[in-house]
Symmetry: C2
């Protein structure tokens, strides 16, 4: 039996367009001789739909579109479609109102509905907010083959693999008892660095232990802060990789299940990106491309300071949008060094993007004059530094508003962590492209970009980082060196370590305490930041929920 | 037995200070002859601690402080303290790592630990993210009295009262079976309009049905977007109100349980605010006061446009902070009407706050000049309107940064809903004071303020609303009249109605569709808004989780 894996890129909430995508994939699959088509979790509405699920008309519309889709699908093909189902007994049983479900459509009809059993409610996931877990094992029989259905998290509770349980039940154990021939997993699993390897290791281990082949289909595409990387795959019952779909792209892959052998046959295997840098870069490219497309933008604008962060974002944008659709704006002040202009110009030339130059000295003077009655006899300080950043932010937003461009903000994760950024200034933008990329990784990505030829001008990489908001300012005047800072931040943010533990790991006490305070105090800035593309297990954004008016470690 | 209700105002995460508050309340209660002291849910860390709970050292510190507190508490007093407990069997059972608990401390020792059974996971609540529900009924016996312990949501599943179940179990039904003498409910229940009445009706109904007296203690204070209104109370087993604590203030109330009668005796009853307007105004005052205090600000600044929104926020701020700690900044442009200055000046005089005047015409001209090379041959439009708003936002932030003031933003809920506000402009601020107050309610609040004498100048109330960003601009040129807009918005935002349903209720089709689109398209602005004080069941903010790059009803 030929099984088609449709690695789709839905737009959240655009149910009719998503249904058309499923239909197109079904028609293509039918032509290729498939009997069964797999689509990702919630393929009809896109994942994550979030609070759109609170609208009854949204759920109702999904049901209508599912019925209509069922009528249109090729009759020789059975299709698994991700959808939401109303829990009719919610009010009487005291349950949540919806299920996160998969509909089995065959011969024009919805034959069966399967409910997700394990509902992730951590990090960016809020599934307990909307969904009731399914209580039964999910499977169906197609042409004599007994196929177990799992939805994303359902396969993420392998106690042997993780060394602990995360949920009380383990759906694959239940399926094994039912003598299943094949397990499919329909997912929308967001990208983080190396996560595709983790998924493959985990399901390889499950396939071997259960001695059941597993076909895994993942959503692809960027949805606000989340990138879905695709990388769908399958393992045979010996844990051998039988196929792998593309990363970061829509794909349709056919895999063969041999009824006689009771196992999958080898299919095509796409290679993974070679380095973490390549993998991250391509994820960020997809993030920009899809955010722009799904919001209706064709062109982007960003400020070019001559520094490494904006250089990297410009490089990402030029791949995502095409260099002709990227406008870099140079906004030198009297504190800008000569090289910040020449470096930015070299970058513009290397990338082939558009650029404009708007000096801000005149604006700085008029702000100073306007505020002089209030600021008389005060020292130049953070207020004045921020004014420069906010002038630039205003100019960029004026251009974005005037021409309908998407403004990309260019701050990195290290800055966002310690608040080394200006709210309503350089933080401005519709999307914060590298907000989850620590500064040390920004260097890695730029070095990778330069592996064959200079794309990021070498001087941008080699000079000491500076905000250039006052004469001779350098980042290292107010922050630890980035190697140290990023290591401390990783321990605070991702590993939830205490100051005592971080000091015990060899870091300087005063530095640790200072960084801890900075992180706590910058919460009000992060709360107002644009969505940032998530690439780590712990990003600022929808999965980071911190109080502001609080006192822990400030 | 005398029972003390400590309506406390903790600062999130400031565990040692919160412990001192509990200790002070205990010493006071002991002096008043109490045998038992009740404190709110999570009184040791404050509610909601959010992702601070992900730090093991935070949880550990809470345990240490609890032990230390137990040693210090007066020995004649039993105390219920809200704390977090580690779930030692989480990894083996596949459960969440923590419990939301209450510790019973008596005679220097932690005698019993009770776990919350119903975990709210909707709106602003994320308890499933952190906590495992407790599976057992919670009670203890003190001096022969059998006391049932419930934590906040535990009493919010009364099927008879609500006409439906929200959770499978109902803790009070379980307690009734155990022959409990008295039920206590330790809460952190956020304010929304009229919610205190709902709580009283609900627990009155529970007391009557169960024929058990109920003592309810609520947290008080503002924590970011959430206001906890206090209003603790008790009902006897006939459903008669036996006591009510203050609204919006720390309070300590003693209530007597008569062992012979098996019921509560009458205590003191504080009156509720007389009108919804008063209730909301006082809630917003507490929100500003506590956000400022808990973030370490003593002074606030805001822009005064001469319009009704900034007038209301100035009035709230002057009560919250004292008029001498409020700076209103007038920033007229060439499009400002004469009355916008005179009205703002009259407001400043009425409130007795400080003011400054910073005209922005010079800055507008220099921005125009700076952008002229790019904007040549384009029409004056939204870009230019936004520049004015952003100039004002920059000036206000410069003042805030220079002098360490908290900037208050002044946009109302109607504007936030339809995006009639400028990101990085008038949306700037650390706290959005009336972001959950629809425009029509803004008028109600101002009229209430003026009930005895003119505080908000009458001309501010009577003139047609205008953003004054271009000549003769009026809100009604681009938006429906606010009575119509607010009714449509209520149906979209709070009632989750579809366009068809709203049109069927009598609204104009084009207007409904336009408003629907505006609400969808403004999501990117709301994502970057400051925390706004929640007063309705459905506020933008932590409980509003919408995708941006999506297509539902745009």
């Amino acid at each position: 039996m030929k099984i088609a894996i449709a690695q789709l890129n839905p737009t959240i909430g655009n149910i009719s367009a998503n249904a058309r995508q499923i239909l197109a994939a079904a028609e293509e699959s039918a032509k290729l001789g498939a009997r069964l088509l797999l689509t990702p979790e919630l393929s009809l509405c896109g994942y994550p739909p979030r609070d759109l699920l609170l609208n009854p008309s949204f759920v109702q519309n999904m049901g209508e579109q599912l019925t209509e889709l069922a009528r249109k699908l090729p009759s020789q093909l059975a299709v698994l479609v991700g959808t939401v189902q109303t829990n009719s007994q919610a009010a009487s049983r005291g349950e949540k109102p919806l299920f996160n479900s998969i509909a089995l459509i065959d011969k024009g009809q919805i034959k069966q509905i399967f409910h997700k059993r394990l509902l992730p409610t951590y990090d960016v996931f809020d599934e307990d907010r909307y969904f009731q877990p399914g209580y039964e094992s999910n499977y169906f029989t197609l042409d004599g083959i007994k196929i177990g259905v799992t939805i994303c998290e359902d396969l993420w509770n392998d106690e042997k693999f993780w060394g602990k349980r995360t949920y009380q039940i383990n759906p694959i154990e239940d399926l094994v008892k039912l003598d299943i021939d094949l397990v499919v997993n329909l997912s929308a699993s967001p990208y983080t660095v190396n996560k595709h390897k983790l998924r493959e290791e985990m399901l390889k281990s499950s396939a071997i232990r259960a001695r059941i082949p597993i076909v895994y289909v993942n959503q692809v595409g960027g949805n606000d802060d989340l990138i879905f990387d695709g990388n769908s795959f399958s393992f045979n019952c010996n844990g051998q990789l039988m196929c792998r779909a593309k990363a970061y792209e829509r794909d349709l892959v056919i895999i063969d299940y041999d009824e006689a052998k009771g196992d999958l046959l080898p299919g095509s295997i796409v290679n993974l990106p070679e380095t973490e840098a390549e993998e991250i870069f391509l994820a960020l490219v997809l993030g920009v491309k899809d955010y722009a497309r799904k919001c209706g933008f064709t062109k982007v604008v960003l400020g070019l300071s001559g520094g490494i962060d904006s250089a990297l974002v410009a490089a990402i944008a030029s791949v995502a949008m095409g260099p002709e659709n990227v406008l870099g704006v140079l906004m030198p002040s009297p504190y800008s060094s000569t090289h910040s202009i020449t470096d930015a110009v070299a970058l513009v030339d290397n990338l082939g993007i558009n650029s404009e130059k708007l000096p801000i000295e005149g604006l700085m003077k008029v702000y100073d004059a306007a505020l002089a009655p209030l600021f008389a006899n005060t020292e130049f300080g953070v207020a004045e530094e921020n004014i420069q950043s906010r002038i630039r932010g205003n100019l960029l937003m004026a251009i974005a508003n005037k021409f309908g461009y998407l403004l990309l903000s260019t701050g990195n994760k290290s800055e966002m962590a310690v608040g080394y950024c200006t709210l309503y200034g350089d933080m401005n933008g519709g999307l914060a492209v590298i907000a989850d990329v620590p500064k040390t990784r920004v260097y890695d990505l730029c070095n990778w970009l330069n592996r064959d030829r200079e794309i990021i001008p070498f001087n941008i990489i080699n000079k000491p980082p500076s905000a250039e908001l006052k004469p001779d300012q350098k980042d290292r005047d107010s922050l630890p060196e980035y190697e140290i800072l990023d290591d401390i931040l990783e321990r605070i943010i991702c590993q939830h370590r205490s100051p005592a533990q971080i000091i015990a790991s060899g870091h300087d006490r005063d530095t640790v305490n200072k960084v801890m305070k900075l992180v706590g105090r910058a919460e009000f800035k992060r709360r107002q930041a644009p969505p940032g593309i998530k690439i780590t297990d712990r990003a600022f954004g929808t999965g980071w929920r911190m109080p502001i008016a609080s006192r822990w470690l400030k």
